[in-house]
Subunit: 241 residues, 2 copies
Amino acid sequence: MTTLEKDKKIPQYRQLYEILRKHILEGIYKEGDLLPSENELCIIHSMTRPTVRQALSDLVNDGFIKKQKGKGSIVHQLPKGIGILSVAGTTSALSGQNLETRILVKPNVKQWADPFMFNLSEAEKNSGCIYMERLRLVNRKPLFYDITYIPNINLPRFTSRSFENKSLFDTLRGFYQIEVKGGEQKLRAIPANKEIGKYLEVPAGQPILHLERKIDTNRVGFCFYSSLYCNTEDHALFGIF
Amino acid sequence: MTTLEKDKKIPQYRQLYEILRKHILEGIYKEGDLLPSENELCIIHSMTRPTVRQALSDLVNDGFIKKQKGKGSIVHQLPKGIGILSVAGTTSALSGQNLETRILVKPNVKQWADPFMFNLSEAEKNSGCIYMERLRLVNRKPLFYDITYIPNINLPRFTSRSFENKSLFDTLRGFYQIEVKGGEQKLRAIPANKEIGKYLEVPAGQPILHLERKIDTNRVGFCFYSSLYCNTEDHALFGIF
DNA sequence: GAGTGGTCTAGACCACGCA
DNA sequence: GCGTGGTCTAGACCACTCT
């Protein structure tokens, strides 16, 4: 291999996952349909069963299918709410709706708040943090007010990139080969204060769902953080477990 | 085999999961420790690697360990909050605290509410529903007010069983061989009304986390439902994804 | 009985972290 | 360079659902 090409190898099970996920989202497989059996998928895609099963297992974890012994893999009813409690979610479940992202505070380097909502490593503390605030709107109504904190470690030119109507996840993957792998979150119901009420266009005191999230990536030791305020009056958050 | 013994076979990967989970909860493996490597676990427990990996994969999904390529399986910091957003959770993360369950309304057979928070099958609608209300207290403070709806299908003598300080999950498993496999949930922040405020001992209007859950089981087509009101003032809910 | 997913074996090669 | 977890192969037997 003579070029400096990205020899990024996408695992076979991941490729199959993406294909099936796409077909489900496009309606090629509809709710209640049976996917091809595991053995059929093996033949179609020239894989062995464990490989196929890993793809299907991921689809189950992300809520796209359910399996039934002796029957098959059944396409699941897609959530009506907003799937933000799983990795796949955040914006994917909103497809088809009028979705908009507005930058309230552009990415800029700051000191970490102290105390911070999660424990930070020394490396994180010393590196400073890239701070940004965004508002997510669905059908012109603000639903999420999102404050993001990213350790300023090896992310050249990050603060000059644009995020308008573009997923942060996509930016991290596209420019830095950082993939989100999972995370943890704390949930609370809190009353809106004046600032949150202003952004979400609700009166102060209205119950708001507050999520504090730590998001892990494939870069070892690198994770980022988000404090997310959701107006759940019209749209419930949706999760699977 | 001459007896009517329950020849329930617990899969090997599940047995290993339970052993490692127990050791982590007991502190034999502490936060940050490395578990034995996959190859070591293979030898110790006379399993092959895929079997070991399935056990470890379940531990990752339930938040007990994280894996790092080239390094090993690292025991994860256990959540400080209340892990109710994953199957393993509900009460398990509260071990060590003073936990109490109080029955407000004993199980009794009713008609389903119409409309109900989830779509019901015809079989479910026709069978009626076992209804109960419970209050969960931690250190004498009420945290959850839980309304449970169970389809009245093939559950002999269910309404006469006692649930005081006993897990509903354990009852279902012990008497009916029903295992919880997963589910879905909708989350909202709502103001407490008078009734909820009375049970959770908070003033009306205080923000409360409302979870509507559909819980799947290993019995095909059998799931049950829960409407859960949580006071998150002192304890955040905790979840992994 | 035929087909399905659930479990399991016994190997293999790779990329990555660490010393 | 060695051990780790990540991916993958090519089979096997079982319990379950459907007809």
